[in-house]
């Protein structure tokens, strides 16, 4: 059962990855990457159970944290309009 969950996770990761590659634009990518981050948190949790050592879930907590920090940072730091091209940071990228 746990292995099936792992497969589902990997499939979802790949789907999110395709969205992250395709874009279009910044926001679709941020969304995909944020989703991907949640999946990695679950990945760590599920992998712990799958390989029989579930006691090291601290990593999952950390992933959840840095994922949030990274999303906040992306939003805070990319909202700046590019002084040269004027199109960056919007849908045009």
């Amino acid at each position: 059962m746990i292995f099936a969950v792992m497969v589902a996770l990997l499939v979802t990761m790949v789907l999110a990855l395709v969205r992250a590659f395709m874009g279009p634009g910044l926001y679709n990518r941020i969304l995909a990457i944020n989703t991907f981050g949640t999946k990695t948190v679950l990945f760590v949790a599920v992998a712990g159970f799958l390989f029989g050592r579930p006691e090291f879930l601290d990593i999952g907590i950390l992933y959840a944290l840095v994922n949030f920090v990274a999303t906040v940072a992306v939003l805070r730091l990319t909202h700046l309009q590019d002084p040269w091209s004027g199109t960056e940071g919007g849908e045009a990228g």
């Binding site: 746990i2 279009p24 989703t35 679950l42």
Partner: protein
């Protein structure tokens, strides 16, 4: 097979389903806002189901606590992130899909 195990299996299966459907939604929905919807609904739901499913299989209390913390963390941060994301996208003028538009 005990009741707990069955319950855990059901929760895990439901969670896995939620995840995959969220992933498909993320890929197939036509514009940014609908994709946000797909992600924001299935992310915490799938994560919650899976984590609770795992929780039922744990016998050590400290592992259980960690699972709960992860769950708490995700339920707090995931919607927040989606919220500010959508907010920022709207301010930035990311276009919204209308019936008949090409997918973007």
């Amino acid at each position: 097979m005990s009741v707990i195990e069955v319950l855990s299996g059901v929760l895990l299966a439901a969670g896995a389903l939620a995840l995959v459907s969220g992933g498909v939604g993320l890929l197939r929905f036509p514009d940014f806002y609908t994709r946000t919807h797909a992600a924001s609904v299935t992310d915490p739901a799938g994560a919650g189901l899976i984590l609770i499913g795992l929780l039922l299989r744990v016998d050590a209390w400290d592992t259980a606590v960690r699972l709960l913390i992860i769950l708490l963390f995700l339920t707090l941060t995931s919607p927040t992130a989606t919220h500010i994301l959508a907010h920022a996208a709207r301010r930035d003028g990311v276009p919204m899909w209308q019936e008949g538009d090409r997918r973007r």
